[in-house]
Each structure stands twice: as structure tokens, then as C-alpha cells.
């Protein structure tokens, strides 16, 4: 066997793909040809190293954001919202909901707020409620008072899911298309919903292009209904590296309450819903 012929078959030889007769011929050549033998040995070593590299460390774990991206594409997302206690008073300071339902003097308000984290629905650590909050020029001031758990606001987010995916992601800046609430959200009495984004934390139903009416009751509200308005107003994901926030307000005249839900995607692996509930004791909501 010539050196040229050996070189043509060297890979198959190293990988053990030659039949016995060919293997023997090549092996005989390698015994006598130092150059071919050296090359064969090097190939064996290289292949061995390549395979070792494939088995070696240095490969990161599957990142949580992949699971989120995949779950965001699921048509049917199981209820995967759980609760954990939060002290979000500081966060809510400056959250200007003043204009939501108080055309003149600020009414006495009751706030029930929780932060919910999507974590496979396994955690539910209760809630913190605040009463006696007042609305001031700078936003909300709250005095925290823990209520017994499950006394609870009728506003419960069963899950905040995204059916068209790629939401809030720096790679695919599409907004979510679906928010799903439990029926206990008490949308029956709702008269309006509004959406807002990170950059417009303070908003009023009547002043928003996102304003829309929906036929309630429904346990699943499809934001696709917003159509072009929503698409046009989808915020620029690069505006805030921490992610998007979308506020959903439900004005419920029957119960005299305005509820605000915040969907937060700052955490790659979590969808955080946070809400406040504002009970109108002196004024009717305007929308």
C-alpha cells in the first residue's frame, strides 16, 4: 500500500471503519513507514482530544431564559403563578396612580398589594396588605398592615402567560399577546381596562391610547384584540435594560375599585405580576 493510499484511508482506519483486510494492509504499511505512522498517531491523539473536549466542562447549564421563551410559546400554559411576600412600599412610592380615579380631592383609599412570581406555581407565601393609604402629590404613601392571608382581594392573577412569545426579550421585542386571569378577578363589573408600559407608570384610563373596552366576564383576556394600537405603542426594549413593565388597570365601577396589575419581566426566568387595588370610597372611577 502506498503512502498516498494510506492517507486516503487514514481517517477510516483511525475511526475503526475499515474492514479486516484493509485494516491489515494499512497496519503493515504503518509498521514500516515512520511518516504515516506519526501522522496516524497524531490523528488518533487529536480525535481523542476532540472527543474529550466534547465531554469536558465549560458548557453552561440551560439558561432559565430558554425555559421562559419556550413557555411563552405554549398555547396552554398551566397555572404557574405563585406568591411570595414582598415589601414593595418603596416601589409603589412614586407610582402615580393618583389620576386613575380621583378627579378632585384624593379619596380615602384602601390598597391591597401583592407581588406574585411565576415559579411553577409552587410557592405561595401569603400577602401583605396595606390599608389607609393616602394619595399625595408625589404618589402613594402607604401604611402597611398585614391582613390575614386569603382575605384577599378579588384580584387574582392565575397566570400571566404569553402565547405569541418573545415578549420583553431583548432579542425579540414583541409584546405579550395574552394575559390570563382567574375569574375571581371579578371582571364582571369591570368597565374598562388599560395598559401601560414601563415609561408611563403614571397614567389615567382616559388619557391612554391603550384604553379599550372588553366584554366581560372572561377568564382570559386576549390582548391581540388591541391590534394595531398595541403594536404601535409597544415600547422599545432597549429603553430599559431591566425589562418591560406593563400595567393593566381594571376599573370596576360596581365594586368601586380600580385594580392595577403590573407584569414585570425584569427577571429572565420569571414573570412577575404585581398589583394594587384602590378602593374608591368617595368618588366614582372615571375612565
Amino acid at each position: 500500500m502506498t503512502c498516498q493510499r494510506v492517507r486516503q484511508n487514514l481517517l477510516a482506519w483511525v475511526e475503526g471503519e475499515l474492514d479486516e483486510s484493509q485494516w491489515l494492509k494499512l497496519a503493515q504499511h504503518l509498521e514500516t513507514c515512520e511518516h504515516c505512522r506519526a501522522e496516524a498517531q497524531q490523528w488518533q491523539r487529536l480525535i481523542s482530544t476532540l472527543r474529550a473536549i466534547a465531554q469536558s466542562d465549560g458548557i453552561p447549564l440551560v439558561p432559565p431564559r430558554l425555559w421562559h421563551r419556550l413557555s411563552a410559546r405554549r398555547r396552554k400554559l398551566p397555572a404557574i403563578v405563585s406568591l411570595f411576600v414582598t415589601a414593595c412600599v418603596a416601589f409603589l412610592l412614586g407610582w402615580g396612580v393618583r389620576g386613575i380615579a380621583m378627579p378632585s380631592d384624593p379619596p380615602k383609599t384602601t390598597f391591597v398589594m401583592e407581588r406574585v412570581t411565576n415559579d411553577e406555581g409552587r410557592e405561595r407565601k401569603g400577602m401583605r396588605a396595606c390599608k389607609g393609604a393616602g394619595v399625595q402629590a408625589s404618589g402613594l404613601s402607604l401604611c402597611a398592615e398585614t391582613l390575614p392571608s386569603h382575605t384577599s382581594s378579588p384580584l387574582r392573577v392565575r397566570s400571566v402567560s404569553v402565547s405569541s412569545g418573545n415578549d420583553f426579550d431583548r432579542l425579540s421585542p414583541l409584546p405579550p399577546s395574552r394575559l390570563r386571569f382567574e375569574s375571581s378577578l371579578a371582571l364582571n363589573g369591570a368597565t374598562a381596562m388599560a395598559l401601560n408600559t414601563w415609561r408611563k407608570r403614571s397614567f389615567h384610563l382616559s388619557s391612554l391610547p391603550f384604553r379599550f373596552n372588553a366584554n366581560f366576564p372572561t377568564d382570559e383576556f386576549d390582548l391581540d384584540n388591541l391590534g394595531a394600537v398595541w403594536q404601535e405603542e409597544s415600547v422599545n426594549p432597549t429603553a430599559d435594560e431591566s425589562g418591560y413593565r406593563i400595567f393593566v388597570q381594571v376599573t370596576d365601577l360596581k365594586e368601586q375599585v380600580v385594580r392595577t396589575v403590573l407584569v414585570d419581566r425584569r427577571e429572565p426566568s420569571h414573570v412577575v405580576a404585581e398589583w394594587s387595588e384602590q378602593r374608591l370610597e368617595s368618588e366614582s372611577a372615571t375612565h
Binding site: Q42, A54, I59, P60, V62, L66, N166
Partner: protein
Amino acid sequence: MYEMELVRRAKSGDTSAFETLVHRYWAKAYRLAESIVGSTDAEDVVVEAFVQAWKSLQNFRQQSSFGTWFFRIVINQAKQWQRKAANLPTEPLEDEFRLSDEELSFRDIEAIACEWDWQRKVKIAVQRLPEHLRLPLVLRFWDELSYPEIAQVLGIKESTARMRVASALRQLAIVLAKLEALP
């Protein structure tokens, strides 16, 4: 569970089946993406590839293995990423490939092998291979594809795939020798 069954379930909307496929192919896809875009962007590329695969799963007719189909997506995503990226990946050092086979010095490479960072150097050398040689090599030894599968992924003949892997090994030896010569 057999792969085809996993795919069948995933296509019917069973996300846990797809998650199993993700775990099964994550490392291999990462190595493949890393060989194209480098380690900095490999994770992003693979994430995009899996999302794309999930979106396109209904189009997968199972005429090939899931891996073959998916690795094509990875390669496409990686190339798309390359096009978008301002900093293109390292191009082959032209002078390394002007060397003829006669200039191979396997003794030099043997010396490299003695170094503790041999594997690291091999990885660097793989990165410096031209893409048409690098991809068959990676698919063969990192992703453990057969030659017919490599041919299918890359859209080339099986004999071409074999030839390119052999050429890649030769070029790898040259690049490693070059790396050894660097200060």
C-alpha cells in the same frame, strides 16, 4: 424514551418532551454554536435555535433524526448571528494554510501534547479552521454525527464530508504547530 417518541409528543404540544430534547441536545448544540460564533455568543445562539425549533417543530417531518434537523437550525442561527454581529469571528490565519503538507511537523505537535493546556489549544485551533472544515469536524467529534448525517446537515455528499474531516485534522495539526510557535 426514544427520540422519535419525544419528537412526536413535542409536536403534539407536550412541552416536557421538548424539554427532554433540550437537555439531550443542549451541550452538543452549544459546542456546535461555539465553534461558529465563539463562547461569548454560543449560549444566545443555542437559545434562539431551540426557540426556533420549538416554533418550527410542526414542519419537522421526521425524515431525519431530530439532531440532524436541529443542528441545521443551530448552524443557521449561528450564521445569522454572525451576520448581525459587528465583531465577526476569527477568520483563519491565511498564512497557516499556505503551508503544504510536507511542512507538517508532528514532532512539534507531540511537544504541544505534553502541555497541560493541550485541550485549550486544540479548541483554539478548531476555531481557526475555515468553516467548511470546522463544521464537519465539530459535527463528527463533538456532536457525534455519522458521516451520512453530517452530509445531510451540511448539504454535501458523504464522501465530501469524510474528505473535509480528514482535511480538517491535517489543518488542525498545522494550526497547532503554529500555535506552539507563538510566543
